[in-house]
């Protein structure tokens, strides 16, 4: 799984000013729509917010990975936001979120594509050096080169 192929320039938001979780999610969905991954924003947003109600996607370390599988998605996509100021995400470790990866997968996707994306992301995030660099990215070029090198 090459996550760089899923990450379009339109869906990289650095920095993003969002007041709360829902606001951040909405902005990321706009990015995924601009990138051509999400075609029905409301439908996809419902899937993402429903998922959040089953347990926060804030995995700790200041990172959240909201995600949804929905008929509102035409092709798999990944969005990233580096938040201008930390946002509360009901995270596992209680810490506010500073960086968000959002995963969009079509309803019809065969097998476990979302799982493959998640594995690829978590293998990077597990590295504390990667996380430190992620929190310091200042533009989309810095993000893509970081994702490419590690």
């Amino acid at each position: 799984m090459n996550i760089l192929e899923l990450l379009q320039p339109q869906s990289i938001l650095i920095p993003l000013s969002g007041n709360d979780k829902v606001g951040v999610i909405s902005s990321l969905i706009d990015g995924l729509a601009a990138a051509g991954s999400v075609t029905d924003k409301e439908l996809y947003k419902n899937a993402v917010l429903t998922r959040e109600t089953t347990g926060s996607t804030g995995i700790g370390f200041g990172v959240a990975i909201p995600h949804g599988k929905s008929a509102g998605v035409t092709r798999p996509g990944l969005a990233f936001a580096k938040l201008a100021s930390p946002v509360d995400w009901d995270s596992l470790d209680g810490e506010p979120v500073k960086a968000v990866f959002m995963i969009a997968v079509p309803e019809s996707a065969a097998g476990n594509e979302h799982l493959q994306i998640l594995i690829a992301l978590s293998r990077k995030l597990i590295d504390s050096e990667f996380r430190d660099k992620l929190m310091a990215v200042s533009d989309s070029e810095a993000l893509t080169s970081l994702l490419a090198t590690i």
Binding site: G55, I65, H67, L92, N112, H114, L115
Partner: protein, 90 residues
């Protein structure tokens, strides 16, 4: 040391929420708890959500749950039960 072998039964596999639930449960025990997928050399610390997510276990995957410490029996029982319950998912 206590070991048990279990199979991932929920349709969506071992994504964020199962990893969260296992790490929360595992953190309640003093024992060192490892999850080792069968047929690989991978292993994950059951107390680390990111560690667990990197395993990318799909439905049907077989894992060995290994615990070592003062509460190893309880720990293996609890984690096995959680995995076999399918995390409350279909």
């Amino acid at each position: 040391m206590q070991t048990r072998t279990v199979t991932i039964v929920n349709e969506a596999g071992f994504h964020i929420r199962p990893a969260q639930l296992v790490s929360e449960k595992a953190s309640a025990y003093e024992s060192t708890i490892l999850i080792k997928p069968e047929g690989t050399t991978n292993e994950a610390n059951a107390k680390s959500i990111l560690n667990l997510m990197t395993l990318g276990l799909a439905k049907g995957a077989v894992v060995h749950i290994e615990a070592e410490g003062s509460d190893e029996q309880e720990a293996v029982d609890a984690i096995s039960q959680l995995v076999e319950s399918g995390f409350g998912e279909a």
